[in-house]
């Protein structure tokens, strides 16, 4: 299974990105890592070029909200992305917030999985579960 990942916007926090890359590979995924400072359009374009089933976006510095709002509109311009699993994690708001409310908001933006300040392994378990459901062997 292919995953495109990276850190969205002008965000340079790279540590989590490296860990995500390693952990995904350890779990047997084929990883296309776009690294830090990645624009939303590049994420979607990378999914088209690679045929990835999963798009996993990180955001750490507080920019997530702005990008999140653009997801639905941008995705609607693509003709082949309907089945992609969209996932986002990291620090999804500036400061702190009500986790349930944050999850609901990002789902509304079009994400299937939302991991606000969720530990990586927990997040990857959630992904596995969804993938097993959506793409049964």
């Amino acid at each position: 299974m292919k995953v495109v990942t990276g850190v969205v916007g002008n965000d340079i926090h790279v540590v989590a990105n490296r860990l995500i890359d390693l952990s995904l590979r350890a779990r047997g995924y084929e990883v296309y890592n776009l690294g830090v400072n990645t624009h939303l359009e590049e994420f979607f374009d990378a999914v088209v070029e690679t045929g990835a089933e999963v798009l996993m976006i990180s955001s750490l510095n507080g920019e997530a909200e702005g990008w999140g709002r653009e997801v639905r509109l941008l995705k609607s311009r693509y003709k082949t992305l309907d089945d992609v699993v969209l996932m986002i994690g990291g620090n999804l708001v500036v400061g702190s917030g009500d986790p349930e409310e944050i999850v609901a908001r990002y789902k509304n933006y079009g994400f299937d999985l939302v991991c606000h300040q969720v530990d990586l392994n927990t997040g990857l378990d959630m992904l596995q579960e969804l993938v097993d459901q959506r793409f049964p062997a």
């Binding site: 292919k2 084929e30 296309y32 890592n33 776009l34 400072n37 624009h39 359009e41 590049e42 979607f44 374009d45 990378a46 088209v48 070029e49 690679t50 045929g51 693509y78 003709k79 082949t80």
Partner: protein, 395 residues
């Protein structure tokens, strides 16, 4: 130039040709009723006679080079990579087509020299559908090349006649792989130049290979400091009669394109002061800042219809402004340059014979103040003796 270096360099452009000997430079408007060689012999016969065949070096940008249409699956990867490679090989891009919307594009009426089809990493397949074959089937083209996913190559080949298949320009980390497509395009361009009757005749006066001008210029850039005093980073503008070329160093773009070349090239096809004068005027009229710029230069829009030295100068000044504008975040070029980081703007070509440094500097200052709201003011450097081109033929 060293004394032992007895060479005659000739550059054939779309509007004029120039000759450069160890001690002189001459430049002449071309006479389009004559074959190039005849025209050259007529205007500079004496100069030609002083050099042996092995001492004559010729490059050409006449006819604006080859044209390409690129069909790719995304803007950020396949189209961007192929565009970058095509520009660097000296090819002009007619249009780029995003495959998913291919049915919405019109069919260009021009004969296209080469159609480039690109998309997907090698581990992906099934990126194209019959819509591609329908579209390509309606094009008039001389060559077609596929540089997308290796898994799709066979399928696409079966449906497009005489398709050349080369290794993918996108590797499995989504990075660009340039060399195969670049070599292919450079060779096509080279063959095209050599195949033109006019150019073939030039081999009567040279025994050296005739190259394309952008190739020569790009080759000179890493060595530019030996000839011209520039402060890095710089951009080089070659505002010609038909097209405008920009060469820029890689550190001026924030891009996902990582290659070994230090310099990239971009062409604005219909931006020139002679052959493309009409489209230059249209671009100027469509730009909301040009009115103010004209006032600043003490001119009015009437200048567009004038045929005078002053009109040529103003048009050249507008061309500089329009190019900078196109390269800025407000322009529609496929990349935007970090213009605030530029320290020198080098100008080469015919423009250096017409405008003074001051006339250029005033445009640069206007651009930075008005468009980028900045006092930054890169230094204009004029390559008035064609040093860069001379250097390129020698490297």
């Amino acid at each position: 130039m060293s004394g032992a270096d007895n060479r005659l360099l000739i550059d054939v452009g779309s509007t004029y040709f120039k000759l450069c000997t160890p001690d002189s430079i001459e430049q002449h408007f071309r006479d389009f009723n004559r074959d190039i060689l005849e025209d050259l012999r007529n205007k500079c016969g004496d100069t030609l006679e002083r050099f042996g065949k092995d001492e004559v070096y010729i490059c050409s940008s006449a006819n604006g080079g080859l044209s390409t249409l690129i069909i790719g699956v995304t803007q950020s990867f396949s189209l961007k990579y192929a565009t970058n490679i095509a520009f660097n090989a000296g090819i002009n891009i007619i249009d780029t087509i995003l495959f998913q919307n291919i049915e919405e594009y019109s069919i260009p009426s021009d004969l296209i020299d080469v159609v480039i089809i690109v998309g997907g990493v090698d581990s992906h397949s099934g990126l194209f559908s019959p819509a591609l074959y329908d579209y390509v089937g309606q094009l008039r083209y001389s060559n077609a090349v596929f540089v997308g996913s290796a898994q799709d190559a066979q399928q696409v080949s079966r449906n497009i006649d005489h398709l050349v298949v080369l290794p993918n320009v996108i590797d499995d980390r989504l990075h660009i792989v340039e060399e195969h497509l670049k070599d292919y395009l450079t060779n096509l361009y080279q063959q095209d130049i050599e195949g033109k009757e006019d150019i073939k005749n030039l081999y009567q006066i040279t025994s050296n290979q005739i190259f394309s001008t952008p190739y020569i210029v790009n080759r000179a850039l890493p060595h530019i400091e030996s000839r011209v005093s520039v402060a890095n980073p710089f951009i080089l503008l070659d505002i010609g009669g038909a097209t405008t070329d920009i060469h820029y160093s890689k550190d001026l773009v924030d891009e996902n394109i990582v290659t070994e070349n230090e310099y990239d090239r971009l062409v604005f096809k219909r931006l020139g002061v002679y052959k493309s004068r009409q489209s230059l005027v249209l671009a100027a009229q469509a730009n909301e800042f040009v009115y103010e710029l004209l006032m600043h230069l003490g001119a009015t829009e009437n200048i567009y219809n004038e045929d005078s030295d002053k009109a040529t100068r103003i048009l050249m000044q507008l061309a500089i402004f329009l190019v900078l504008y196109k390269m800025s975040p407000y322009g529609e070029a496929y990349i935007s340059l970090k213009l605030l980081a530029i320290n020198s703007i080098v100008l080469t070509g015919g423009i250096t014979k017409v405008l003074t440094v001051e006339e250029i500097q005033t445009i640069i200052a206007f651009f930075y103040r008005k468009i980028l709201s900045s006092d930054h003011n890169p230094v204009a450097v004029l390559d008035s003796n064609y040093d860069i081109w001379t250097l390129g033929t020698k490297v």
